[in-house]
């Protein structure tokens, strides 16, 4: 019997989803016969790890701390094996700017972009280059916080007048923002498990308002289709692209790569997530399920990869 610490909650804005992921993982671990220690991550994390001495930590934290390498670093120091990617891959994926530069340098498709921190605007007059950026990227353009895990803070600017308030919103979540060309098309997610791409999930908004983030990401207003209705060649193309991203960024065991498929059938990588959601309706469990891998088996395999 393995003693598994499930790390969840914490102070991230995605605390609620993380608690749900953690609860679901705990249920699976119990079913698999493991000894489960649930830890809502806080000031006592290191003390609890020392006291409980888990054999392995299952990371069910999303966003800040749990997905950006902070908790992974603590686990490295504490000598506790953990699920998912190691510190450096977490840091590369948690920062969309680093991710996008790595993709661009490697020749993988990612929408054209610029990134700034607040200082650039406050101290270096970056406001003066906004018109040039707007001209190069075109409208609508997407403004998003560099290191916010979920869709929080993502704004669409349809004209130059929308850009300042979109930037103010994005800077609410992050010290750094990405201004990105908008790709109009289909919203795809490819989950990777044990270095193999799972069936593609497509998020199909129910409402026609593609610019309203709430309608895209709110449960009940988006239908998830898995496997996505794509021809075999496109499926293989986005799967191999996602796997390429997973490898390029150095992810281990699992990840989820989000892409847009434009009207011409070209895929564009938006981001990679090292700790995908683990609720019943999350995309990785859905994709695994479509591949015949039930939730318990999914958890079992993620755990096995941690110990390897």
């Amino acid at each position: 019997m393995t003693r598994v610490a499930v790390l969840k909650g914490g102070r991230s804005l995605e605390r609620q989803v993380s608690l749900q992921s953690g609860d679901r993982v705990e249920e699976a671990l119990h079913a698999l016969g493991h000894d489960v220690i649930a830890i809502d991550v806080g000031h006592d994390l290191v003390a609890r790890l020392r006291a409980e001495k888990p054999h392995v930590a299952f990371i069910a934290l999303h966003g800040r701390d749990g997905e950006d390498g902070t908790v992974q670093e603590l686990l490295e120091i504490a000598g506790v094996p953990y699920t998912g990617s190691r510190v450096s891959a977490c840091m590369r994926c948690a920062d969309k700017v680093v991710t996008k530069h790595a993709l661009r340098d490697a020749g993988l498709p990612t929408p054209d972009f610029f990134a700034f921190n607040e200082t650039a605007f406050k101290e270096l007059g970056a406001t003066d280059v906004l018109p040039a950026i707007e001209e190069r990227l075109g409208f609508p353009l997407v403004v998003k916080p560099a290191d916010q895990g979920s869709a929080l803070g993502i704004k669409f600017a349809r004209s130059a007048a929308d850009v300042p308030s979109a930037l103010v919103a994005a800077f609410s979540y992050s010290q750094k923002v990405v201004v990105e060309r908008h790709v109009d098309g289909r919203d795809l997610a490819v989950s990777i498990l044990d270095d193999v791409a799972l069936p593609v999930v497509e998020a199909v908004p129910r409402d026609e308002d593609f610019y309203e983030y709430e309608s895209r990401y709110e449960i009940g207003r988006t239908d998830f289709v898995c496997p996505a209705d794509l021809d075999a060649a496109t499926t293989e193309r986005v799967q191999s692209l996602a796997l390429g991203v997973h490898e390029l960024l150095g992810c281990r065991s699992l990840s989820r790569v989000d892409l847009m498929l434009d009207g011409g059938g070209e895929p564009w990588v938006l981001e990679a997530n090292t700790v995908p959601g683990m609720t019943d309706t999350s995309l990785l469990p859905q994709a695994a399920d479509a591949a015949g891998i039930g939730f318990n088996e999914l958890v079992s395999r993620i755990l096995a990869a941690a110990a390897a």
């Binding site: 605390r15 406001t127 850009v163 800077f171 979540y173 390429g244 891998i293």
Partner: protein
């Protein structure tokens, strides 16, 4: 880059990676999706609500709750009351009770309503499980999918999911410092007439409105009753805070006005005794009460006997008003603390209401600041509020926030407002930089403390404007 020895299936999906039988398309995870009622589509979880989970962390000063301060209730008195219930009425406290409630509790309710000058026959009351149940029973009794409810803009955020779950078409009427604008209401009613639609009820919180903090003036109350009587429309008067008035003269309840027979009155012990006991009530037209009684039978048979006996024992135990008076003193001081802190720490670009009672202040920022996003930044500074969007069903309210002053102490109120003010100033400054606008309000240290905001000015409820018909917004 795909692993060659794991070829794709015919549909393009990856093959199961272990040798286990492939399952049919009806997958575990979607098993219940097809069973959910259509109404659940309107019962949404949102990122904003998920974000509120972080406010339960101990390091966060939460001005987001709507909580009365129950720590002010004397523990010794609580023990005495519970002991007296146990010794004098133990068996009844543990037993089911009548659906419409226990008669001795109804007598207490009549006394509370009399305190606000409203007479009610205790036999005609429906005792409910919190005031919230009255809102639910009203919808259950009156709302078919698509039926119209008229509410204030902004309205009680807790009523929004109730209205949504009954698939109501909610039309929100703008308010000013005197509460709901009845002229805008009449325009809306005329337009609905032209569409051959009749609102099922008009939902109002006339005293110290949640979240707006404004109070409906007496002329507007009278006019509302006239409009309702002439058109035979029902009014749902939600009055949880009426006794928590910190300044000014009390106004009569809408139900007590001449012609108030078309008013369903909603009361509760939540803010004058305890929200944990979950005891509220409704008083209204008898046919309506009879239907709501049937609805309540289906919902929960009866409200807690233990809680109802707790209320009646509490009323026998001493003067129930004394605790309300003590709460008034505590909350008045906290309100003043918050108003002072707002004047000191919020930038000139912000406006806020000056409530004469209740629990909430409604603050509005420049329209380029979205308070849902602002909350993310505020949470990094360990402080929380309710973003204004939760008080609308139509996406408005994005630049406003609800601030609660009853749930935390004076020091935390001051510090919480200071922190929110700081992030607002940062946002205002950044926006100014991005638009090359003139430098914004300097930080408070750089100037003497600003004079308190002119109450006449502060009392104007600043509501976000969008193009469209004046005075109202359509939900959906």
């Amino acid at each position: 880059m795909m692993n060659d020895d794991r070829p794709l299936g015919p549909g393009g999906e990856a093959r199961p990676m272990d040798r286990r039988p492939s399952r049919p398309a009806a997958r575990d995870l979607e098993r219940y999706a097809g069973l959910f009622a259509a109404r659940t589509r309107a019962m949404k979880s949102s990122a904003m609500r998920d974000m509120m989970a972080i406010t339960e962390r101990p390091e966060v000063i939460s001005l987001a709750g709507g909580l009365p301060d129950t720590s002010t209730f004397p523990p010794g008195q609580l023990a005495e009351i519970l002991a007296s219930v146990a010794t004098t009425a133990g068996a009844r406290a543990l037993q089911y009770g009548p659906t419409d409630g226990m008669s001795q509790t109804a007598e207490c309710i009549a006394a509370v309503m009399a305190e606000e000058g409203t007479t009610v026959d205790p036999e005609h009351l429906l005792i409910t499980t919190g005031g919230q149940q009255v809102i639910d029973l009203m919808c259950k009794t009156f709302i078919d999918p698509g039926d119209v409810i008229i509410a204030e803009a902004p309205t009680y955020p807790g009523a929004v999911p109730t209205f949504a779950s009954y698939q109501a078409d909610v039309i929100q009427i703008e308010m000013d410092a005197d509460g709901m604008r009845i002229d805008a209401l009449e325009e809306t009613l005329a337009r609905l007439d032209a569409e051959r639609r009749t609102p099922k009820f008009i939902y109002t919180i006339p005293n110290f409105q949640n979240p707006g903090g404004v109070t409906m003036s007496l002329p507007r109350r009278r006019r509302l009753v006239e409009v309702a009587r002439d058109r035979e429309l029902l009014v749902l008067e939600d009055n949880p805070y009426g006794l928590l008035r910190y300044e000014g003269d009390p106004l009569p309840t809408i139900r007590s006005l001449e012609g108030g027979e078309f008013v369903v009155y909603l009361g509760t012990f939540s803010k004058i005794l305890s929200p944990g006991i979950r005891v509220g009530w409704a008083a209204g037209p008898r046919p309506v009460m009879a239907k709501m009684n049937l609805g309540k039978q289906g919902a929960d048979l009866c409200s807690s006997s233990l809680s109802q006996l707790f209320v009646s024992a509490y009323f026998e135990h001493g003067r129930w008003q004394d605790y309300v008076y003590s709460l008034r003193d505590v909350y008045r001081r906290r309100r003043d603390t918050m108003l002072d802190a707002l004047a000191e720490h919020f930038p000139r670009e912000a406006t806020w209401t000056h409530p004469q009672g209740g629990l909430f202040i409604w603050a509005t920022l420049p329209d380029y600041i979205d308070t849902t996003d602002l909350l993310a930044r505020a949470l990094q500074h360990h402080v929380a509020f309710v973003p204004g969007r939760g008080a609308y069903l139509d996406g408005r309210g994005g630049s406003s926030m609800r601030l609660n002053f009853s749930g935390v102490g004076d020091a935390e109120i001051r510090e919480g407002i200071r922190r929110i003010g700081e992030v607002v100033r940062e946002q205002v400054g950044l926006y100014g930089t991005l638009t090359h606008a003139a430098a914004s309000t300097p930080p408070p240290a750089a100037e003497p403390k600003p004079a308190p905001v002119d109450p006449a000015l502060a009392d104007v409820l600043q509501l976000p404007q969008r193009d469209g018909p004046r005075g109202e917004r359509r939900a959906r």
